[in-house]
Symmetry: D2
Subunit: 262 residues, 4 copies
Amino acid sequence: RLPLALIAGPCAMESRDHALEVATALKEITDRVGIGLVYKSSFDKANRTSGKSSRGIGLKAALPVFAEVKERLGLPVITDIHEIGQCAPVGEVVDILQIPAFLCRQTDLLVAAAETGRVVNVKKGQFLAPWDMANVAAKVREAGNPGVMVTERGVSFGYNTLVSDMRALPIMAETTGAPVIFDATHSVQQPGGKGSSSGGQREFVPVLARAAVAVGVAGVFIETHPDPDKAPSDGPNMVPLKQMEALLTTLVAFDRLAKGLG
Amino acid sequence: RLPLALIAGPCAMESRDHALEVATALKEITDRVGIGLVYKSSFDKANRTSGKSSRGIGLKAALPVFAEVKERLGLPVITDIHEIGQCAPVGEVVDILQIPAFLCRQTDLLVAAAETGRVVNVKKGQFLAPWDMANVAAKVREAGNPGVMVTERGVSFGYNTLVSDMRALPIMAETTGAPVIFDATHSVQQPGGKGSSSGGQREFVPVLARAAVAVGVAGVFIETHPDPDKAPSDGPNMVPLKQMEALLTTLVAFDRLAKGLG
Amino acid sequence: RLPLALIAGPCAMESRDHALEVATALKEITDRVGIGLVYKSSFDKANRTSGKSSRGIGLKAALPVFAEVKERLGLPVITDIHEIGQCAPVGEVVDILQIPAFLCRQTDLLVAAAETGRVVNVKKGQFLAPWDMANVAAKVREAGNPGVMVTERGVSFGYNTLVSDMRALPIMAETTGAPVIFDATHSVQQPGGKGSSSGGQREFVPVLARAAVAVGVAGVFIETHPDPDKAPSDGPNMVPLKQMEALLTTLVAFDRLAKGLG
Amino acid sequence: RLPLALIAGPCAMESRDHALEVATALKEITDRVGIGLVYKSSFDKANRTSGKSSRGIGLKAALPVFAEVKERLGLPVITDIHEIGQCAPVGEVVDILQIPAFLCRQTDLLVAAAETGRVVNVKKGQFLAPWDMANVAAKVREAGNPGVMVTERGVSFGYNTLVSDMRALPIMAETTGAPVIFDATHSVQQPGGKGSSSGGQREFVPVLARAAVAVGVAGVFIETHPDPDKAPSDGPNMVPLKQMEALLTTLVAFDRLAKGLG
């Protein structure tokens, strides 16, 4: 039972300077709190609610920034890919390839991600039962890659709402045999809830994160931003950067208790 | 922020001897663990899945047993009532009257329970949003009784399944202003899931109870039985009595951490 | 396969004159359209969202009005009961006793209704699967009354929303062996959706009613009012009386097609 | 208000001979019934529950078969695409490009499909509200292609279950302004319900199709197969070919009534 890990960063990569600023701040915070950090950002928001929403800086601009974050700060990095052709170039730089929830059953994408040899983190579709992820994890492993992780991010509950079933965490751990991450950011999303963008309930991030850590997870996924209300995506559900240290301190204490880590 | 309280006992009262045996055992356990106990049992299972299921020993036989549990063990007791006429006689003995989830919107029953002057614990209907409980709590208070508690016990999620939305706990606390209890037993019920009776997933009681306590609740509700598989009702989701001490020890530790109680 | 029947009337009985006015108008409409009518109204709204909502004129005032509707207009009447003690007096006058959805598993209420010898119409709880109604219907029959009907009125779907699963209609017909009614009024309710009262989507009543009749049902339940926006309850989902004739004409045509009735 | 159209064919293309056999049979049936036919088959099942399930004959083998169906039988054809690179070659042959439900928010795929100039039929994600499809349709139109259709195929309802909300049909028609298709085959799917494959409830295809046609739709989508239980995918929810004529005859009658088409 390893201590809790953290996947964090701004939802979308905005610029080199912004990425380094947030990564540096997060590294300092997590060093103080004593929790391992994987830096996350997206280079492309490929499935926005509306076609008019901003997309991101793109793969070519983002890869050197990920490389710089790794080299200068010594942090592992994770990003999400959306097409088969992105897997190889992204896999040359980032440590973990993330499969978006909507795409978690696209066999060819899972196989292409697996074939990079990098760890693959698959988000559970909002339309899947937790036990359905066993078949998903198997697609990665059968492609020759044992390095698969699975992430809970809420399940459809009526319209424009998700609910987090805490039973999903042990069920996924048992049925997939993979480390389970709880994504506290997207679990509080209200998909499509603002008409041409998704709403969110930032105030419930700590609530659900505490619950998940108490149940026992390998890691938590929490998007953060220096000024969420100005962020290009997922602003309503990102945690302000200055609140992260207190939140993580609490989560680490719950994790120690949950795992009996003295 | 008061320490976590426990509402516990066998789902249905089976006999005087059985009730005293379980209450005595629970008192010893909770004294060792250091958690306050309210003893719970039902005298009538008024809404069984099937009309052929057993109902319980009835109000007349149960009241003297509740009185004896109170007197001999010094424990407060709670039971659920189903009809207006039961409120007054039950209110003469038990400390907390519980309104079943299906009946949580029956105004006259809420008022009759309120008029006993006893604390009223209303279970949230499986068909209600957490914020809907504000109107329910108001019905009790407007009847002149400020002593209302509310209990989360899962919300309908597809057919024959409930899901526990941990956001409901702070939402109910804020919108009702009442102490919030998490019922870990009925939240893992699979209503009607076994054809002519309800199924259950006992293994998830500790999972959901830990999550709820980490979020922060006034109390947990956990039905227990020396031999759940022989119990007349809710056997599949009751926790074996011999597992209670370990479970409660964990929950008390999580509660102290959640509430910053040293 | 009998032709489609209609259960209709204003949600709450407002006064003798109002009841007779609506019943007379409905009788004229249904005579022209050629559909059998059962007149419905409630004498008490016992489970309002808020305790401050109006309740209705009460059992004593309502029974003579039901008797007058029967005698003067020759219409069978239906009303809902909420307590065991109401069954006998109501059963002396009305032709069909209706069990509200929240109360559909209260064994004693089902038995008391059954023992009147009147037909019992049980609404399916918003928290039940369609196959769960087999046990409910059995409770009525085991009390010695073969005259049981079951009514679909939507199932919980997230918060403050119901969804109508059209598969429920044949499933209930097959598993209960009872006539199946589709309640198009409460299926479009948004429970608690307006804070201290329920919202509704009147515009979907014809949509869901057409769907249900095309699938094949014994009857439809449609609340109507001369001026729904001034009605004391369920205004947002009642159909204006002046729109009923066109709606019923369409439904009768769909019913003939669905049942091959020339 | 145009008469009802039909999209039909076997879920997966199995071989040239099989495709021509089924297309020929369907053409004869639909000619007799008097309903327009678009022939559907998939060349690749790209998101199977399990990675070990069969995938299909592939794009290269399928395109000449689609061309032959068009030429010999004069039928328009539709198939689903999963990657941007498939859009152009598929668009050279087939008349309608279909976007799978899981992929309905992938902006680049929608744009690539739109840019073929072919009609684009987007299935509504199991995780979307009906009004969310307005943004999806806008993505196609903003790419310069006014030819967009939207298809209802059920929404997540608990685990491993979908429910068809008939209100979604008029809501999508109004909010997207596009023709609305009801997919009666996938609406009765039980996703992942058989462990390593999806279950289905073929018996409810006529039930839901009748309901949808009575509400009013531009078309129905019904997968069919000469021997569904031997089909490589979606067998449990495909309608046997020999039952199609009776089903379509009924649906056409309901459509005429629904649209007042004499």
